[in-house]
Homo-oligomer: 341 residues x 2
């Protein structure tokens, strides 16, 4: 581990940024080392009789549990569905496992579970396995939920999660504005709690993604821009590759109140968490048709082409800024806002 970590787990180890990567590489991959895990794809792709399965897991510890646009239950279903969908898989089954603090309100639990059920129904997937643990008061913060998911993966789409087919000239698309989830959570925090006309973008994206995949074979890579935001997704993608990424700041949709709140708190929207945003890399001639399809769905109405794969600054992401400058966009170091998901 890096010396700066001082051998203690820091909040940054869970941020999806630099220290998370160190931890994954230096601890988990080191020991768990196997050919599926080392691919580090969003869902594990499992070889199994007559087809492929995608398998993924996520624990949700968001604070507060209820926020504008969703709650921990909805988030836990959408988040795991999205992990499967961005792998090119069709989500089929979820498990759900609860760790609940003694004294937590059962009414609130029912609200959360109902959110999960509603979202699962809407998404057309089944929650098929579960577990509940309760810990003494003060030993966890209200409720944590793990969901794991299984999806069916068409073998022809195995390349989407690795991004192996990406080439210079490919375009980068996002399906709408960034930072909504992060800022909605920030505004809902007990310690701050300011009014903002903003909801989390928390949503299941697999119908939207399905519509794109059904009309185009030009999708070469997808990733949901959650913890660490758009910047981290693209930095990860560029890392160790024989190409660079150019991003156009003016092309990236950001709501005015998200931009304003970020300025006040000194946050960068590029690093803010999203829970309903997919970043796609698509073939050079495919972007128009794909944008058209995306815009027809409410979850993609603000879709935009925001950048391009280029043959310079290999391994790095460069941002053409609004004011005409140019800066390198790195992975998130440290933690902008803990417990965002």
């Amino acid at each position: 581990m890096s010396k700066s970590s001082n051998n203690k787990i820091l909040l940054s180890h869970g941020s999806g940024g630099k220290l998370s990567h160190d931890l994954i590489r230096n601890v988990f991959i080191k020991y768990f080392n196997n050919d599926v895990l080392t691919q580090q794809t969003d869902s594990a792709i499992l070889d199994l009789i007559e087809g492929n399965l995608a398998f993924t897991t996520d624990s949700y510890v968001v604070d507060p549990v209820f926020f504008p646009g969703g709650d921990i239950g909805k988030l836990s279903v959408c988040g795991t569905i999205n992990d499967l969908a961005v792998s090119g898989a069709e989500p089929l089954y979820l498990s759900s496992s609860f760790i609940i603090e003694e004294g937590f309100s059962i009414k609130d639990l029912e609200t959360i579970v109902k959110s999960m059920a509603d979202e699962a129904k809407k998404a057309g997937i089944k929650i098929v396995a579960g577990d509940t643990k309760v810990v003494d008061r003060g030993k966890c913060d209200k409720i944590f939920i793990n969901t794991s998911g299984i999806g069916f993966l068409d073998p022809e789409r195995k390349n989407i999660s690795t991004g192996d087919k990406i080439q210079v000239g490919d375009k980068i698309i996002i399906n709408g504005s960034i930072g909504d989830h992060g800022i909605a959570i920030l505004a809902a925090r007990e310690s701050l709690h300011f009014k903002l006309d903003l909801e989390s973008d928390c949503a299941s994206l697999h119908h939207l993604i399905g519509e794109v995949l059904s009309i185009s074979s030009g999708v070469k890579f997808m990733r949901d821009a959650t913890r660490g935001g758009l910047a981290t997704v693209l930095s990860e993608l560029a890392e160790n590759r024989e190409y660079g990424i150019d991003l156009e700041e003016t092309a990236i949709p950001v709501k005015e109140n998200v931009k304003g709140t970020c300025e006040i708190f000194g946050f960068d929207p590029l690093y803010m968490a999203n829970e309903g945003k997919v970043v796609m890399v698509v073939g050079n001639s495919d972007e128009k048709g794909i944008i058209d399809v995306l815009k027809r769905n409410p979850l993609g109405k603000d879709s935009a082409v925001i950048g391009e794969i280029v043959d310079s600054h290999h391994g790095q992401v460069a941002l053409q800024t609004e004011v005409g400058g140019r800066r390198i966009v790195d992975m998130l170091v440290g933690e902008q806002l803990p417990r965002i998901c």
Copy 2:
């Protein structure tokens, strides 16, 4: 929910006993309601191309994290493997998801992860997906781990998890002494911490179970006796059935120091948690062959026939006690010892 619960989550909601059942029925099944989940089998059985998958999830919150005979990492791998194995499935893949308290020692994390890797290797399964969240100090207790698992299920073994083929005259087998895990955890608790020559029985049972299934088709039901212990497994099995269960107290293996510690604390070994014990219901003429196979494996050397399916006291478990009495064994009500797994 029952009135006594006072609309708050109690530790007993996570005990695997009566209140857990209420919560599952009144909250989770109510909302998640689907044909797979309502089977309430240990693993969800998924219909998928040319075969069946078993899918299961469990979160582990054991306190202390390190205990004689294992740690939370080993437990999280064995526990989920066992959930798959008792469904008659061959465990293939696990996911692992960590919720870690800020300040937790990375050295301890490595020890835990290494335990998981060692156990996975020994068991011949792969950990293929993962996630890490970190929460602020004081917002969880050191480390919680979720593992979810997928296994391949031979369609001919689909009846094992439902127990539909059980009939009067069938025998009940356990592969060794009960209560070792529960008492080992109790003795290791910071607040007590007394010396006892005892280790948790924490172990992956799927090789042992595989050996039995390969020589006999007489296994009609299996369940690992974890939270809630042997009593809860059998009470659940008998519930609403057209048969009863007779248990022979003198036939049930219990170590002397487990028995003694239970007496001091007022616990009943029948309800103590195990992490390496499988309860099998087997055909009337099959028990001898199966016991022979079990005894050849170190994990089954103390196997014993401990009871029988009978055509009386339908829906209930009756224990023939050591002193010649007879009592009904009910599901665990309340909580003997929280955070046992």
